[in-house]
């Protein structure tokens, strides 16, 4: 019974923890501009993150090595350092966007300008990273994040014509006013948001934090294969709500308030309150995850003690890194930069950094020295190779598309 409860809790927190500020903003923007025609990218991205999260979780369970340990072991100190710098910058950018997202969610409730809220949010995030238990962070915020199911309920209440919706799923249904370049740019952004590298840093390091062993592979797989796709359903629901409410009016989504507006239309104030709580939980949870991920990747490259499974005094270097990045993120947001803009940039740079993270995972997942009997089967390898090709194409296309479409404006 306890085991079933553990599986259920894991799946629920995986659903609630799947969506972050990048998913919220990008899905709503894409829904408002492209309707349902880019949903297939979300499906592609969710399957991709499942494939690689499962591999990295399996490696963490069997060998107790998290992703950045592997990056350095397989790519060596030089390529590993380039990888570290790239991944840390992208994760830091995502961390800034998440803290900004928390401030924006609180702005919706308090009407206080988000810049004024940033210092308080940063302090709160740091206190949680310093004091809270790893499992409490994951469980409390993951479960609260489930309130984003409000989007699925709202979509059902909005009652789109489902048969018409199915007919507009194909890429050929791109709205005529949008060019193929912007379509591709938002495809890349959506893919980057779904496959953000920090998710595997956090997932694999979390496996080490929670002391998974090869016995936990089943539970881990349930989390990934049930939790992530259901989290993906929430992403699609966010895009769907925007498609129903904004697309016919030609409204462009530029704020977090607009992301929640379709829920207010469908379910009224209570519904809006519920999803705003979801915004808060999802962004706060992701802020903790990305902040930890920056510390994890640096510590795993250099080799010093990391993790919340030891007392903060035993992992002093790790906690200093967490403090420094939190101060840095707050400093960037205090310049008054628009967190939505930071989010848009962070998902595109995530897309660029994808091969750095996923290639070493695929190589080590095949290594019997690490995994013994648990190394990849042909199916995981076929998917892994397929995604390696997709990821490389997406990564190479990201910057040219960003330039050609001026970040999706054109």
């Amino acid at each position: 019974m306890k085991r079933y409860f553990a599986v259920l809790l894991g799946v629920l927190t995986a659903i609630g923890g799947f969506v972050d500020i990048g998913d919220l903003v990008t899905n709503a923007q894409v829904g408002a501009r492209f309707g349902w025609s880019l949903v297939w990218i979300v499906v592609l991205g969710v399957v991709g993150i499942c494939v690689f999260a499962e591999m990295s979780g399996r490696i963490a369970a069997v060998s107790h090595r998290a992703t950045f340990d592997l990056v350095r072991e397989r790519l060596g100190p030089r390529m590993g350092l380039l990888n570290l710098v790239g991944s840390m910058l992208v994760t830091l950018l995502t961390f800034i966007a998440e803290i900004g997202g928390v401030a924006l969610a609180l702005q919706l409730v308090s009407s206080v300008h988000h810049v004024l809220l940033v210092p308080f949010v940063a302090v709160a995030v740091w206190i949680v990273l310093w004091r809270a238990k790893f499992s409490s962070i994951e469980n409390v915020l993951g479960l609260l994040g489930l309130t984003l199911i409000g989007f699925a309920v709202a979509l059902w209440q909005l009652g789109p014509d489902w048969s018409e919706m199915v007919a507009t799923l194909s890429p050929a249904e791109k709205p005529a006013g949008e060019s193929w370049a912007t379509y591709a740019f938002f495809g890349v952004a959506l893919f980057g948001a779904a496959m953000t590298p920090y998710e595997v840093f956090f997932f694999s390091s979390g496996g080490v934090e929670e002391r998974w062993t090869s016995k936990d592979i089943g539970v881990m797989r349930a989390n990934v294969f049930i939790g992530f796709p259901l989290g993906g359903v929430l992403s699609v629901a966010i895009a769907g709500c925007a498609a129903v409410v904004f697309l016919p009016q030609g409204i462009v989504v530029e704020s977090l308030g607009q992301v929640g507006l379709p829920v207010a239309v469908a379910l009224g104030k209570i519904g809006l309150a519920v999803v705003v709580l979801g915004f808060f939980a999802a962004t706060f949870g992701a802020a903790c995850e990305t902040g930890l991920s920056v510390g994890y990747s640096l510590a795993q490259y250099v080799g010093f003690q990391w993790g919340k499974f030891v007392r903060p005094t035993e992992a002093a270097g790790f906690h200093v890194v967490l403090l420094v990045v939190t101060v840095l993120a707050a400093g960037v947001l205090l310049t008054g930069v628009d967190p939505i803009m930071v989010t848009e940039v962070s998902v595109v740079f995530s897309a660029i950094a994808l091969p750095l993270t996923y290639f070493p995972i695929l190589v080590v997942a095949n290594d019997p020295d690490y995994l013994g009997e648990h190394s990849n089967g042909w199916f995981a390898n076929a998917l892994g190779i397929f995604y390696l090709v997709v990821i490389t194409v997406v990564s190479l296309a990201a910057i040219p598309l960003m330039v050609v479409t001026s970040m999706g404006q054109g």
Partner: protein, 227 residues
């Protein structure tokens, strides 16, 4: 899961040791294997004597140009320290087990000491050009094959060098197993390293690290890595 447990008599130092996490007997994370210390014994054998850690060990491994520049800058920052060029060392006799981590047989508290000067490093040996019959003309040292039982008594002796064109580490471990996957990556890496050979240390092999090259004569035992 075992990379080089006591049961296995030999291991490849770059593949199985370098850049792995060092963990002490209490399970605390200590450092990375930033480099491996080698000592030339009086009888000519090359022995593995310690694990090196810290920036003075790591920085030179960033390549001939970037690495020496980074090491020089680091030296100049700590110009007043007598031991500024020396990394920290963990004696190899304290290594209990090497799996996906390097496990020590004792607590690491206060364990790391400054390394002595004048010893060789695996990082210097790797990438050294190799000249002579039987090897590719742009061959370099890719790895060092070590005979020795981890956690057991006895010396760890470098008995052979893996030599071939390319960069150390670029084999990604695809040369050491019969059934590596995914085949696309595996066969590409193996194709890249089709000229790689194993050269036994001994007669006909001269390690001249001062001149920065390894010279081979016709007497040396050279066999293909991928058979």
């Amino acid at each position: 899961m075992t990379a080089a447990r006591g049961s296995r008599p030999s291991y490849d130092a770059a593949l199985h040791l370098l850049d792995r996490q060092v963990v002490d007997s209490d399970g605390r994370l200590v450092a990375k294997v930033d480099d491996v210390e080698l000592v030339r014994a009086d009888d000519g054998r090359l022995l593995v004597t310690g694990i090196l850690s810290g920036l003075p060990a790591l920085l030179p491994r960033f390549g001939p140009r970037a690495g020496s520049l980074a090491a020089r800058v680091h030296r100049e920052i700590r110009w007043a320290a007598a031991d500024q060029e020396q990394p920290l060392v963990i004696g190899f006799d304290l290594v209990d087990e090497v799996t996906s981590e390097v496990r020590l047989s004792c607590s690491a508290e206060g364990l790391l000491e400054r390394a002595q000067g004048g010893r060789w490093r695996l990082g210097t040996l790797l990438g050294t050009p190799v000249h002579g019959p039987g090897v590719h003309r742009s061959a370099r040292v890719l790895d060092a094959r070590v005979r020795g039982r981890l956690g057991g008594p006895g010396d760890h002796v470098v008995e052979a060098l893996v030599v071939g064109p390319g960069r150390p580490g670029a084999l990604l471990g695809y040369d050491r197993r019969s059934e590596p996957g995914p085949w696309l990556v595996g066969s590409f890496v193996r194709w890249l390293h089709r000229h790689a050979v194993v050269v036994d240390l001994g007669a006909g092999v001269e390690l001249d690290l001062e001149a920065g090259e390894v010279r081979i004569t016709g007497d040396a035992s050279v066999r293909p890595l991928l058979g």
